[in-house]
């Protein structure tokens, strides 16, 4: 069975928000209608986004590092938001594991948002329905697009290629190999939701240098230094030639 997912390399993400804006652009232009922005130019703006990049500081200065965490719907393999939906508007596709909302069935009761521990669902105040990341389902199967473009907008937009897209149930896929080989992990594994999206941890590259490695033991100059140095009053090479 296929389970499409994003694998996001936190070691590579620079927190540029290109995935956020490209996601907003693609999904606000789609056939489902615009993602609402309330009071976009006023003091208290608010908007619907399927993807957000959040920044965390880890550790205490000077031993700190910055973590940018792009987070969208994780397309859980056991999504708690689906069984609670009273209308069946929230569903998980059998064929590719994408969790979707049928905007024509949603009554806007917001119960699924309560049931999502990740806060991945956002209520659209204009359309009065629950919205969420679709993994660009209207794009990845669009045969009118070039093969290379049949990827979620966020994956296409990422300038550092931090976002990988593929089937995590296929052990040979790029995403499966990345998760396996680089310690891919899931967010809040304690709730048993089995998120399909994985994150590759930040990796620190360190080399161990021993003190004797800082000096080259077979340095020829060092051998010269051990020879007796000529003294100002002693015989010189000119003396020998003059003799």
């Amino acid at each position: 069975m296929t389970q499409l997912a994003l694998v996001i390399d936190l070691n590579v993400c620079v927190g540029c928000h290109a995935c956020v804006t490209s996601c907003k652009q693609w999904n606000t232009s789609g056939s489902a209608g615009p993602l609402v922005d309330l009071r976009p130019y006023d003091a208290d703006p608010s908007g619907t986004f399927f993807n957000r990049v959040q920044t965390f500081e880890i550790g205490q200065f000077p031993h700190t590092e910055t973590l940018h965490l792009p987070k969208s719907c994780l397309h859980c393999e056991d999504p708690p938001c689906v069984p609670v939906c009273p209308t069946g508007a929230s569903y998980k596709r059998k064929e590719d594991g994408i969790v979707l909302v049928d905007y024509d069935k949603c009554i806007g009761c917001k119960y699924c948002a309560w049931a999502c521990p990740y806060g991945a669902r956002e209520f659209d105040e204009n359309r009065k329905v629950m919205t969420k990341c679709t993994l660009c389902v209207d794009r990845i199967y669009d045969a009118s697009l070039a093969e290379a473009d049949r990827k979620p907008a966020c994956v296409k937009a990422c300038p550092t290629s931090a976002r990988l897209f593929g089937d995590i149930h296929d052990p040979q896929s790029e995403v499966s190999q990345a998760v396996r080989g680089n310690g891919g992990y899931q967010l809040m594994p304690e709730w048993g939701t089995q998120p399909a999206n994985h994150y590759l941890p930040r990796r620190q590259t360190r080399i161990k240098i021993h003190a004797d490695e800082l000096e080259r033991s077979d340095n020829p100059r060092k051998r010269d230094a051990q020879l007796p140095r000529p003294t100002p009053t002693g015989p010189t090479i000119e003396d020998a030639v003059g003799w």
Partner: protein, 326 residues
């Protein structure tokens, strides 16, 4: 979580309606077994059923204000196999219909005996509708409470105490209302109903206090570490990804200060439990019907506060991702 007024009114109104209906049927069963005198006025059942039905209807109407698309509400009855919300959507109108039938059967005096008890009591359609209604009333308590209790990561709600509280709090307000109502139309039943109202209010206080103690000692199930997947004791959010608000910052934060929360907690403990107990006792001692009415009015007010606190106290794990704006 941000408490929604529509859901606060839905749960408290139907709770009182269910409790009132259970009180009416309890009286009828006691009368059937000759343990209580029959109410002075037949309107005790008919008018009582009407009030219970109106309370349920008011709750149902309140619930529509919670929906983005109320015109599609009928769809909510389809997923009863998996969703407690869907089950509630089915059971609530079923109970409303059964209470209406119960009231109608009393009003139109459908008294043909279907069976006769050895004690001489007649089992007529009102007894059957009442029994069905009792089942549905308890089913509705369980459905309503399980909507909240079934979410494992909302730890304040994920407990059998949630279900127990919905039953006891609904029962207490219903029996208090029944004693206030009986004081007007059937004074001989006031002692019985007010007695049960006292017992249920005391039981509700024990269960609610138990859940308050439990919630005060809860440890969070998710931490900043598991939320971002980094093992370091100090993780500080620096940006939530947007300078403005969002659905996530509105829906999951109640925004009240710790002081307000404490005030609401002590307020509802006083209004929903202490004051009604005192007024019910006063009403029984002084035979004052105004005391029962006041007891219900204040207890209902207290229960509105209790329900606000119930929602506000739940701490959603998604809040771990929204701890700093920028």
């Amino acid at each position: 979580m941000r408490p929604a007024l529509s859901v606060i009114f839905l749960t408290t109104l139907i709770g009182a309606g269910q409790g009132l209906f259970l009180a009416l049927y309890t009286v009828q069963l006691y009368v059937l077994f000759h343990l209580l005198p029959a109410p002075e006025a037949q309107s005790f059942y008919t008018l009582g059923s009407l009030i219970a039905a109106l309370l349920l209807l008011a709750g149902l109407i309140a619930s529509f204000f919670h929906l983005g698309h109320p015109e599609r509400a009928w769809r909510a009855a389809t997923q009863w196999r998996t969703s407690w919300l869907s089950r509630e959507v089915i059971v609530l109108p079923a109970l409303l219909g059964t209470i209406t039938l119960f009231g109608l059967a009393h009003w139109l005096e459908w008294r043909s005996a279907l069976a006769t008890l050895p004690s001489g009591g007649r089992v007529d359609p009102t007894v059957l509708f009442g029994a069905l209604g009792t089942l549905l009333a308890f089913a509705l308590f369980v459905c309503t409470a399980m909507i909240y209790a079934c979410l494992p990561f909302l730890r304040e709600w994920h407990s059998p105490l949630t279900v127990v509280n919905f039953i006891f709090l609904g029962g207490a307000s219903g029996f208090t209302l029944a004693s206030a109502f009986a004081a007007q139309v059937a004074p001989s039943l006031v002692g019985f109903l007010a007695g049960w109202a006292l017992i249920l209010t005391a039981l509700a206080l024990v269960a609610r206090a138990a859940s308050l103690v439990r919630n005060a000692r809860l440890r969070p199930g998710s931490t900043a570490q598991s939320a971002v997947g980094v093992k370091h004791p100090r993780i500080v959010q620096k940006s939530q990804g947007a300078m403005g608000g969002s659905f996530n910052t509105r829906e999951f934060f109640h925004g009240a200060s710790a002081q307000t929360m404490r005030a609401v907690a002590s307020g509802f403990l006083l209004l929903a439990f202490a004051v009604p107990v005192a007024l019910l006792a006063l009403g029984l001692a002084q035979d004052a019907s105004w005391a029962f009415t006041a007891a219900f009015a204040l207890q209902f007010l207290g229960l509105l506060g209790e329900r606000w606190y119930f929602f506000a106290q739940a701490n959603h794990p998604q809040n771990l991702y929204y701890r700093a704006i920028a």
